[in-house]
Amino acid sequence: MGGKGENDDNGVNSKKTVFVTVGTTCFDALVKAVDTVEVKEELSRKGYTHLTIQMGRGTYIPTKSDGEEGGLVVDFFTFSSSIADYLKSASLVISHAGSGSIFETLKLGKPLIVVVNEDLMDNHQCELAEELAERKHLFYGRPQTLNQTIKSMDLETLIPYMPGDAMPVAKIINRFLGFPDD
């Protein structure tokens, strides 16, 4: 309680977890990127203490660490039915560009970095991440430049995402079918 951590600018030694998720995809490039010394150091500098990686179908195994030398505590797993719990307890989420992961994170109001998988053939998913980044709801980067994205990100500039609403669609469908408005 209140102890000053080595790399902690705020002087608070509480647990701050970075959660990395690739969904059901195989996205080794992202797992490799977060496993690099540069990214881990950058995350420590920003005050994060734990790094949890959901690696999906990928084959690259990141290095576990219990954070003895003052670095991050690193852990990983392939799949889990309680991704929502991991998201809830995270202070920062680094995710693939799947719309499911993106909106689940945004609705929880967690800071999010979306990393685009450049190996995918039809990469329409970057459209969504780009658009949401332009609207300042998230940060958007590539695996190779992830450490720079983390370095330059300012969480204060993010604008909270207001959850969408399916009511307009429902109204139009009802009217089209001749149902009266409520």
Partner: protein
Amino acid sequence: MHQVSSLLIKLIPFYPRYFWSGSCVHLIMEKGNGCCFSIMTMPNLIVVLIAIIVIFVIRILFVIHQSRKPLHNLPPKAVSTLIVLGSGGHTAEMINLIRVLQMERFTPRVYVVASTDNMSLQKAQVLEASMVDQAGPDKLKEKAQFMQIYRSREVGQSYLTSIWTTLVALVHALLLMIKIRPQVILCNGPGTCFPLCVIAFVFKVLGIRWSSIFYVESIARVKRLSLSGLLLYKLHIADLIFVQWPHLQKKYPRTLYVGCLM
């Protein structure tokens, strides 16, 4: 021929949609006796064929024209609804939409899910169970049904084998549609919904069942429609196509911009 076509165009809207194809034959017989007697008695196969093709083209144009307009002759009762679930993000968006629809209007409901997508099936079952809890069992007279459909192509499958699997998927889709014959189809991609929509459109043309087809483009599509969305748009198969980003509506003017569903 021109006279027959123009007469048909004038008369078509006065016939009810559901039984139009049956009445059409009468119409040709009656009017044919008057103005094109020679055509009907001449055993000329080509002329008959051309006539059939013209009638079909007119009927298709009529169906497309009618599909754009809201229904007026439908009494405000329940409509049988087919909900095609995609996968992952698609399913999540569809479930958001189903939640806000009045369940007593859209009933009975049939959910169709790709046979390899157990996750979506589970989500739909959870949704239906929660709605039964909310409304009480008396309010929902008929229970929702869940059906699985073969996918025409799995991720990574070779193109050669996918010809065969596409055929199987089509036949399966046809059997399902004959069984369900929904009045309303709700879908939002990806590919699974396309064959079902095409079959529904053919049913409309043949007068088997008039269904209103609604397609909601995925929120992930910001700049271009997906392949299913584009095909349904270009071929005029969907009655209404909703998009979630303003640029898309500008690019495809016949779509409706409705804001984000997620």
